[in-house]
Amino acid sequence: MISGIFHSSYEKDMALRRTHAQKIRLVILFLFLLAFPFIFRENRYYLTLANQVGIAIIGAIGLNILVGYTGQISLGQGGFMAVGAYTAGILTARLGMPWWASTIAACFATALVGVLFGIPSLRLKGLYLAIATLSAQVIILWIVTNWGAVTGGVEALVVPNPTLFGVRLNSDFNFYWVTWLLVLLVTIATVNLFRTHYGRAFIAIRDQDIAASVMGVDLFKYKLLAFAISSFLVGLAGALTAHYRSIVTWERFTVDVSVLYLAMIIIGGLGSVTGSFLGATFMTLLPALLTNLGRAARGTFPAIDSLLPFIQQGTFGLVIILFLIFEPEGLNKIWRNIKDYFRLWPFSY
């Protein structure tokens, strides 16, 4: 009878996956993700959702590194994603660069912009930093819509379909592999980042930045590094959006997007990769679920079609409020509670 998880060596304690149950769950998840596109090959809708979820997970992990692990509140996610998407889109559509090269370039460009707008973080924290990043969002989006010669302004920027080894990635089925391979890479990289001294420095800054600096963590360096790494991943999510949708418009990167991603990581769980997965999945599937419910209810309530956008927006707000009041640690905490319950089940006392 086990009463908890114990480790008898440092190697075991530092291991990524520490229990058998974790390994089994991971294998099941992996097999599910492998089988998913084949099961729903004919059902484009599910594959589209799967791609959207994958891109959202990358963006959410990026934001979580900054907000959840380093404690720097950012409302500039939409702006940073715009930098990624437009860099990738412009390089491919106007300069004819291959999609993978423009994606890498977009990641670095976004990291650079992230560092630029991260400079105020040295003097600002909490609320003030949130407002500073909010203005980064406004400024970036203004540049995008007003610099028509390069970005196309308010017009949509059309990006050619990506190809890989001669295969055109224009279907959801083909793009699924790109998205989820990158999700896998980003996840492994992030989990490992927080086993290095960089990751520990980030967490130290979040917990008490002055104490961290007394212990020898160079605040300026590590805060900017957190902004760079976070923006790098956010830029990746933005670039993937550009290549996946083959079209880039500024409406996709408004302040609502910043709020959406912040909601993902708060509802999922701050400072947790699992939380980013859960939150991104939940917040991407929620509007789709509501749309389907609305369609199902159309027969009884014909008015529901015109009300649906407002129901979606209202549910979004309500879900955020309810989570913050009743489960501030998010879905990740609920998931942990379920695991704890079944660990000793059926003898939980």
């Binding site: 907000v67 509140i73 105020p120 003097r123 600002l124 909490g126 609320l127 003030y128 949130a130 407002i131 500073a132 909010l134 203005s135 980064a136 406004v138 400024i139 203004w142 007003n146 008490q208 002055i210 104490a211 302040v255 709020v259 912040l262 909601a263 708060i266 701050l270 009300l307 956008p309 407002f310 129901i311 979606q312 927006q313 209202g314 979004f316 707000g317 309500l318 879900v319 955020i320 409020i321 913050l324 009041i325 501030p328």
Partner: protein, 290 residues
């Protein structure tokens, strides 16, 4: 020169309304350390409720205004009680996020009731053009400035002289000390939220009178940030001065340099202010100790 006066007057009107929106913002921050991202939605609700009272129910505008204030105060109390009180002691990001969620919910409710189509507002304030020093300006804009000045002076007096105002300042200064002096902090929070909602409602009615009612009004929620940061998050005179400076800045850049730039320049100013003087022109500088 005419253009200059014209732009100055426009800027002053916009500034006065911004100052009203910022005032509610500052009030809430001052007493409860909460940043209210739903301030723009309060403005929106004020505008739509007075629209419903005057146009849909056909009430006289004075009665309509009075009822709007009642609704706004009730809204403030309900929001404080249901949403903000459970957030006491939670980290700052939760508090920010809960008001963002609130703004989304309120906006959805307003759009579900009144739809997304902009509606003309029957001006209850005469809007005939008046010429001042060679520039023409709508009379309603002048009234807006006047009403804003009046309200801001009332609030300044309220905080200086009245018992409740002094209690609110005490809570802002130190909640524990205020509690031990017999001030009910909960009651003060409810006061702050209802006053904020009421000022926003007045602001909403003024804007509606000038430009009509539409979902766009919620945009004031974002435009308030440069104002409060410039003036100082916890300063009422700061909200007034900040509002006027930002209003003038928007108006001059819009008139002399070009439309479009006036939307972004306040945020550039915001970042510069944050880099140089994060506590703003009149805000209190907080020194952090470990």
């Amino acid at each position: 020169m005419d253009l200059f006066i014209q732009l100055t007057l426009t800027g002053l009107t916009n500034g006065a309304i911004l100052a009203l929106a910022a005032l509610g913002f500052v009030l809430i921050y001052k007493s409860s350390d909460v940043i209210n991202f739903a301030q723009g939605e309060f403005l929106l609700i004020g505008a739509y409720v007075i629209y419903a009272m005057v146009v849909q129910f056909g009430l006289h505008w004075t009665l309509g205004m009075f009822l709007t204030m009642v609704v706004a105060v009730a809204l403030g109390v309900v929001v404080e009680r249901l949403v903000l009180r459970p957030m006491i002691g939670e980290p700052i990001i939760s508090v920010i996020m809960v008001t963002i969620g609130l703004s989304s919910l309120l906006k959805a409710i307003v759009s579900a009731i009144w739809g997304n189509v902009p509606r003309a507002f029957p001006s209850f304030i005469p809007s005939e053009p008046v010429s001042i020093l060679g520039a023409t300006v709508g009379e309603d804009r002048l009234w807006s400035i006047l009403i804003a000045i009046l309200l801001l002076s009332i609030f300044t007096l309220f905080f200086r002289r009245s018992k409740e105002g002094i209690a609110m300042r005490a809570v802002a200064d130190d909640q524990q000390a205020a509690l031990s002096m017999g001030i009910s902090v909960k009651k003060i929070f409810a006061w702050a939220w209802s006053i904020a909602a009421a000022t926003a409602a007045i602001g909403g009615a003024l804007v509606a009178n000038i430009v009509g009612v539409s979902g766009e009004l919620a945009g004031f929620g974002l435009r308030v940030f440069p104002v409060v940061i410039l003036g100082g998050l916890d300063s009422i005179p700061g909200a007034i001065v900040g509002g006027i400076i930002i209003g003038l800045l928007e108006s001059y850049t819009g008139g002399y340099i070009g439309q479009g730039l006036n939307q972004v320049l306040p945020f550039v100013v915001l970042i510069i202010i944050l880099m140089l003087r994060p506590y703003g022109l009149f805000g209190q500088e907080i020194i952090e100790r470990v």
